[in-house]
Symmetry: C2
């Protein structure tokens, strides 16, 4: 097992009727800015519940944070936060709103041009406004980690950053608030969580037995509960299990002490930035091809995955690995996500573009062994067509 | 799944050569009191490493905290902490030293007679001195939770308390520091961790699928790694896995959203207070009998445990549950812990004493359904002879 530091001070308030708890989590006399996305929280009454919980606070709001939140939009909020002397942010939404709010929290107190925060992967952040979240779309895990991904529209760049100052102080997770999500967002969220876990699990063995068991536990739960979430949108326990999977899939726990990959995500980010394809869909396309092209490097973990997650017992190594990858692809398809670029109307022309953008972003040695080169990405994308 | 709050701000610094990191975790200009037990840390050089890491700090020390730390001993340290204006505590040792240090941290700032802290289960604690830990014996999980157990010798009482002010700020976990532990302490630690997990897992189902998978993951890892730890004391990965199991077995994660039992622990505490039996050994005796006598109430989870943890597939329900309990008992014995009171020279006379003490401490409705009565405990202890 590798050395590690695990630190995660976010307080999770989980369950039915928990939005009303937020008033006690925010310091009295705070001027609070509620940040949100396209307005679904106003249609489904989450916004009203949040406002009721904030009775007595001085509250402002900033809506319109888009999926794949952009620097351009977020900077408008930063401007308002500064002008209106906001001292607490409350993100109400999914991963995009929360990621965007992390950028706002850091940028509001940043000395210098805020895009530097992203360019330097968050390392130049010294402090940030405190913030909490009310999660409405389980997927990214942003509600319990210190990372975020922001897109610079003018630069066609979608890039990650993180900093210990960017943990939410609290996150409210009420599974009933996910009942009204469209099936497409549930599918995206399940696949996103699944691939977060495989990025931390399908690498090479370092004898991190508990990390492996926990990762497998999340994957098994997603496989069991994912299809039920589509079939029974108001099954509380199913939604609760998926929500907790998404959070624990990327809160630093299963990656503590083990190698990490993230090549699939980096390639996916470029596809989203170039073609606007949903994040979850990019992962559904790239992961099966990634596992196949790197099957030799990932052999031991893939065999363990085949056995423990998919219950595959027979066949030679190659056959078992192939079956596990096929089952992974089938699972994504069963969640409503096609796994071929052509099904999204994307053709060969995207390949040089993605490779070019990866190079432009310095991402020429990806993966847990830094051996995913631009040439390998090119071959991999051919297999995704 | 039940509603829950999960909050755990302890920073874990895990791995080889990590003691040297503690100097950066403690505020400069602190007057630090190192607390420890019987002095093994001086023999195995852990103390020297800690002192080297604290170069530049003003350091005092308090040794002699015993296994099952006593109010009487701890109050001597509280006196010194006050007189010497200590403002940071550093516990170096196992669960007893860390538990004792939590009491010291709370008592040093407590207004009133400090035993009240324990009598009120920690609820009257308002603040505590900050503290960190260097763990040398993985078992209790105290290094990453806010609970502790303290014994009042004059009252023959061993009682638990907890408070959110009692999380360690950081804990250093270096698996190499456990190489020199006697086999008996490894056995105790593995069984203690195992039973922590069963207290949170073997109750009744609430569809907490991830909590179940994580609990099963810890149990499977203990079963795999426990015997290896006895056979190969300097196998780093084995010790690392056991250490991380002990921490994650009782840091609030696997209990979040599910029922908890703890009857085995409460009975075990009385056995320790009355007869001085090691904590782990009391659990090895009580748990198999507890599972057997409550097999009907715990049926669904016991069947799941039989299948997922012990791989038992065949036989009727009763046979599978019986086999799982037998395997549990065999595992404890294989770790060097007898599972019958007679093997510790304890006879029937202990039964009315334990029952009397449980009544004296108000523990007359134990277990996840509050149905473990003094009468049931009497019958259970008959089965432990």
């Amino acid at each position: 097992m590798n050395n590690f530091i695990f630190y995660n001070p976010t307080k999770i308030i989980f369950g039915r009727e928990t939005i009303k708890a937020i008033g006690k989590e925010i310091p009295k006399d705070s001027r609070v800015m509620i940040t949100y996305g396209g307005g679904s929280i106003k249609r489904n009454r989450v916004f009203d519940e949040v406002m009721a919980a904030l009775a007595g606070f001085d509250v402002a709001e900033f809506g319109g944070i888009e999926p794949n939140p952009t620097y351009e939009t977020l900077m408008q909020c930063v401007e308002r936060v500064k002008n209106e002397k906001v001292d607490y942010l409350l993100a109400v939404g999914g991963g995009s709103v929360i990621d965007g709010t992390k950028f706002i929290a850091a940028a509001a107190l940043y000395e210098g041009e805020p895009w530097e925060i992203v360019k330097n992967y968050g390392m130049t952040v010294k402090r940030a406004l405190p913030f909490g979240t009310v999660l409405t779309l389980p997927a990214t895990g942003s509600e319990m980690n210190s990372g975020a991904v922001v897109t610079h529209r003018a630069l066609n760049a979608k890039l990650p950053f993180s900093n210990p100052a960017l943990f939410p102080e609290f996150s409210v997770l009420d599974p009933t608030k996910t009942y009204t999500l469209p099936a497409g967002q549930i599918g995206n969220g399940v696949v996103d969580t699944f691939v977060h876990v495989t990025e931390q699990y399908l690498t090479y063995p370092v004898n991190g037995k508990l990390q492996d068991r926990f990762a497998e536990g999340i994957l098994l739960t997603l496989i069991e509960e994912g299809p039920k979430a589509l079939a029974e949108p108001e099954n509380y326990d199913v939604r609760a299990n998926l929500m907790w999977c998404a959070t624990l899939g990327l809160n630093g726990l299963i990656s503590a002490g083990v190698p990490q990959d993230w090549a699939t995500h980096m390639i996916g980010h470029e596809l989203t930035a170039l073609k606007g394809l949903d994040h979850g869909k990019t992962l559904a396309v790239v992961l099966p091809a990634m596992l196949k092209i790197r099957a030799r490097e990932k052999k031991e973990k893939l065999l363990q995955y085949a056995q423990r997650v998919w219950g595959i017992q027979s066949g030679d190594d190659e056959a078992r690995i192939g079956e596990a990858i096929d089952k992974t692809r089938d699972f994504f398809e069963s969640m409503g996500l096609p796994t071929r670029l052509c099904e999204y109307g994307i053709g060969t022309d995207v390949i040089p573009e993605v490779v070019g953008q990866l190079k432009a972003h310095g991402m020429v040695k990806l993966g847990e062994k830094r051996d995913v080169t631009p040439e390998l990405v090119e071959e991999l994308l051919q297999n995704c067509l």
